[in-house]
């Protein structure tokens, strides 16, 4: 039987439609953060002064959050590995750990924000803090989005029908791709705001 791209577009491209869709979504996210980074570069290079991250922000907490997010990247990829082997308990454990680390990231960020607000520091305080709150705030919203998706997958893992569905593994992989992207964004945000 001859199959065409219309019959089975996935085999034509060599990548599933769902996965390609996730990658295209991530591409739009790359451009979103690229525009914000461009604004940051323009504002920073044009400013008459720019504080050193160590003087303006809590670097130890930022470093801790970096370690937390990197760890969560490992736990979610382990959750994918367990899902790949149909290890239900293992998947729940690693996905649960991912969610725990995600909340830990937000709690640490909350402490940071609280410390800054207590000192009377707001986005309107300076260009530096405007960039800091905008970039980390948008990143935090992405963390929240990831928590929603990962929680849904953890919930689905308690129902056998999802494990019988061949699409489930693809969903876990898609969620993992998104989570790793959020990690990569932080990998660039951390030195740009805290260290340089």
């Amino acid at each position: 039987m001859i199959t065409t791209a219309m019959d089975n577009p996935d085999t034509h491209s060599g990548v599933s439609n769902a996965k390609l869709g996730v990658w295209l979504f991530l591409c739009s996210e790359i451009m979103l953060f690229a525009t914000l980074f461009t604004s940051y570069i323009v504002l920073r290079t044009g400013a008459s002064s720019w504080p050193w991250g160590w003087d303006a922000l809590n670097v130890p907490l930022g470093t801790l959050n970096t370690a937390i997010l990197i760890s969560s990247s490992v736990t979610i990829v382990m959750a994918y590995a367990r899902a790949y082997d149909k290890d239900v308990k293992g998947f729940r454990l690693w996905m649960g750990l991912t969610l725990l680390l995600s909340f830990a990231f937000l709690v640490v960020k909350g402490f940071e924000y609280h410390g800054e607000f207590a000192k009377g520091i707001w986005p309107s305080t300076s260009l530096f803090y405007a960039c800091y709150f905008t970039l980390t705030g948008l990143h935090g919203i992405h963390i929240l989005g990831g928590i929603v998706v990962n929680s849904s997958l953890l919930y689905m893992s308690f129902k056998k029908e999802h494990w019988d569905n061949p699409l489930f593994l693809g969903r876990v992989e898609g969620a993992g791709l998104y989570w790793h992207f959020v990690d990569i964004v932080w990998i660039f945000l951390f030195p740009a705001l805290y260290l340089l």
Binding site: D7, N8, D10, T11, S13, G14, V15, S16, A18, K19, L20, W23, L24, C27, I30, M31, A34, F37, T38, I41, V42, T45, A47, S48, S49, W50, P51, W52, G53, W54, V59, T63, T66, A67, I70, S71, S73, V74, V77, M78, A81, Y84, P166, L167, L169, G170, E173, G176, L177, H180, F181, D183, I184, I187, F188, F190, P191, Y194, L195, L196
Partner: protein
């Protein structure tokens, strides 16, 4: 029509747990390295170059290993390269403003203000 595509692409991406652990260790070491280098208070251009280089290595490791980009489908690579090109072009646009670049080179005041104790 049955979905023939759902399970097929995953075979090429069998998770390698040992590799994940190695990359995890490397990412933590590179994070500590970034923080340590920033304590040296290098001149801004050098600090930005080193910081960006380490961030690129870290991001590359996450993308290549955790996101399975190493050995990923050519179509995904092409799409990503296109977006990466335009993202990089966008971020270098401010530097392409020649007048502004000359202003930066001839006006060291911002750097002195950023690192008050530097060079004194």
């Amino acid at each position: 029509m049955p979905d023939k595509t759902a399970a097929a692409p995953h075979d090429a991406h069998r998770p390698n747990v040992r590799l994940f652990a190695a990359v995890f260790g490397a990412l933590l070491c590179l994070t500590l390295l970034t923080v340590a280098v920033s304590r040296l208070r290098l001149e801004r251009p050098e600090a930005i170059t080193v910081g960006l280089l380490i961030a690129l290595i870290k991001g590359g490791l996450v993308a290549a290993v955790f996101m399975h980009l190493w050995g990923e489908n050519t179509l995904v690579h092409r799409v990503l390269y296109t977006v990466a090109f335009f993202a990089a072009f966008l971020m270098t646009l401010p530097i392409l403003d020649g007048h502004y670049f000359v202003h930066l080179l001839t006006n060291p005041a911002p750097v002195a203000a950023q690192h008050p104790d530097e060079g004194h």
